[in-house]
Symmetry: C2
Subunit: 273 residues, 2 copies
DNA sequence: TCTTCTAACGAACACTGTTCTACGAGCCGA
DNA sequence: TCGGCTCGTAGAACAGTGTTCGTTAGAAGA
């Protein structure tokens, strides 16, 4: 902060500090600053207002809700996610993996902002930008349109959920919890489970604890991409006949037949991250 | 509620109402009743205490935290999830799909309780019960141990996240939002996107909106299971070499070599649902 | 110069989780 | 039977929260 000039005495100060006037984007920027410093729970209307040298009521002239403010913050953060120059279908799995890690990098850089994304439908410009890129890529690969469309849904969930859990993990670390001891405890707890009721779990305790967050994240993405791959027309005769929901008709394996009209309302799914 | 008998005058009432004394399980049961009626946000210490005819401070003798109360509630709810009698490896995909839908049925029956599960490591008895079953099943199928272990992680995430999103969807419905009009709006919004920036998305608007929550859920599970399937030793020469995180070593495709010591701390992942 | 409009804001409302402290009933040893 | 002690209970309070109301003060338009 540069040294402040003394106020000219006969200029009665407009507000106590002649800041730039309040605006939506200024509020959002400030809120993100608070978010980065203290996490989502620290972003209160009072806290943001205080940072702007005003009261909470003033914010409501530019933002109708705390929820709306959160949405705006998410959109702003999402804009930071960089995408490759163009889709490269010949290495689509690598490219998607890279995007997933880029998204996680950006999301976790802003604490637990991913939590905002979890229940919301991505309609912001930046979110659609990512959706557009991925959708284009998946179609170029040759996936059936409906598979590609629904895959975005799932991809967004993976990204958001993992970003959130990565934050939980980091938070515990930052709060001074000795994670080494914590996980040793957990491992011991699994080992000490009654063998007659939890034989497998007890035997697999070490495997359950294996791998850090990034490895597990990479695994989830890999499994998901391999699953997608099985929907490629080339792999049409899939290893096993595709299962579906217990009673409802699940996704069939015939490829182009996907775009069929079943006429249901869309689910409340959040793709795009 | 049955008609209350008048209090016998010469019996001075113990507290104003001669309820059974406070206890952990009574508090949890009451909290779940409030949860079912008003959602997780409605579960406040005051609200639960009021339901028990007492003040909020009284709860803290049996429950150290609101967070702990939430964990106990989750554990209690998870206990409702029914499992098949025994693993049937020959139809493992169907069985897992059934369990996923059973879990979602129970979770969504209790509003947004799934939110509690999202950031927490599943160590409760009921959660471990499910983990034990699934782990056993996956190993019997012949999946490499480490793949099976990490798969539980991913499965838990799918279940929790989808249950939460299903609740968001149902909530909007319950709050009187006309979802038909809402999704029509959304569809129109996608259709009206500038074609030069979002050509694919615009073209695919209908496919993006296709399918209700259950169909999308079934699709995610199916993709995941097909991905898992590709890790079966029989399928060892997978269509493409397994990709990994950009710089880190991802899961290799050799099967039994998994149980290796990489020595990292476990991630903050929540499996089990 | 006077009016009109609107962004800004102080104060307040109805809440929240949690803690402190006093109260009072039940049990135990004498 | 009686004191003393423990421990579950609960009222009040603290420091917060999101949001709204009614007022004010500054700028724009006539």
């Amino acid at each position: 902060m540069p040294a402040q000039m003394p106020a000219i005495p006969w200029h009665k100060p407009r507000k106590a500090d002649p800041r730039q006037p309040l605006s939506r984007s200024l509020i959002v920027d400030t809120a993100i600053r608070v978010l980065d410093a203290e996490g989502l729970a620290g972003v209160t209307m009072r806290r943001v207002a205080q940072e702007l040298g005003t009261g909470p009521a003033s914010l409501y002239a530019h933002v109708s809700n705390k929820e709306e403010l959160f949405d705006l913050m998410l959109e702003q953060v999402t804009a930071e996610i960089r995408l490759p120059l163009r889709p490269e279908p010949e290495r689509w799995k690598d490219q998607i993996t890279e995007i997933c890690f880029e998204a996680q990098r950006v999301l976790t850089a802003h604490r637990d902002v991913a939590l905002v994304s979890l229940g919301s439908i991505p309609v912001g410009e930046s979110q659609l930008r990512i959706t557009e890129f991925l959708l284009d890529l998946l179609l170029q690969v040759g996936l059936p349109p409906q598979v590609a469309a629904w895959a975005l849904d799932a991809l967004g969930q993976i990204i958001d959920t993992d970003a959130y859990e990565a934050w939980v993990y980091n938070e515990r670390l930052a709060r001074g919890t000795d994670l080494g001891a914590y996980f040793d405890q957990l491992r011991g707890y699994l080992h000490d489970l009654p063998a007659e009721r939890f034989p497998t779990l007890q035997r697999m305790a070490d495997a359950m604890m294996e791998g850090d967050g990034d490895q597990r994240y990479a695994f989830k993405i890999e499994v998901f991409l391999r699953g997608l791959e099985s929907f490629l027309p080339a792999n049409a005769p899939t290893p096993t006949p595709p299962a579906a929901a217990p009673d409802r008709p699940g996704p069939a394996s015939d490829d182009q037949a996907w775009h069929g009209p079943t006429g249901g309302a869309a689910g409340a799914a959040g793709a795009g991250g």
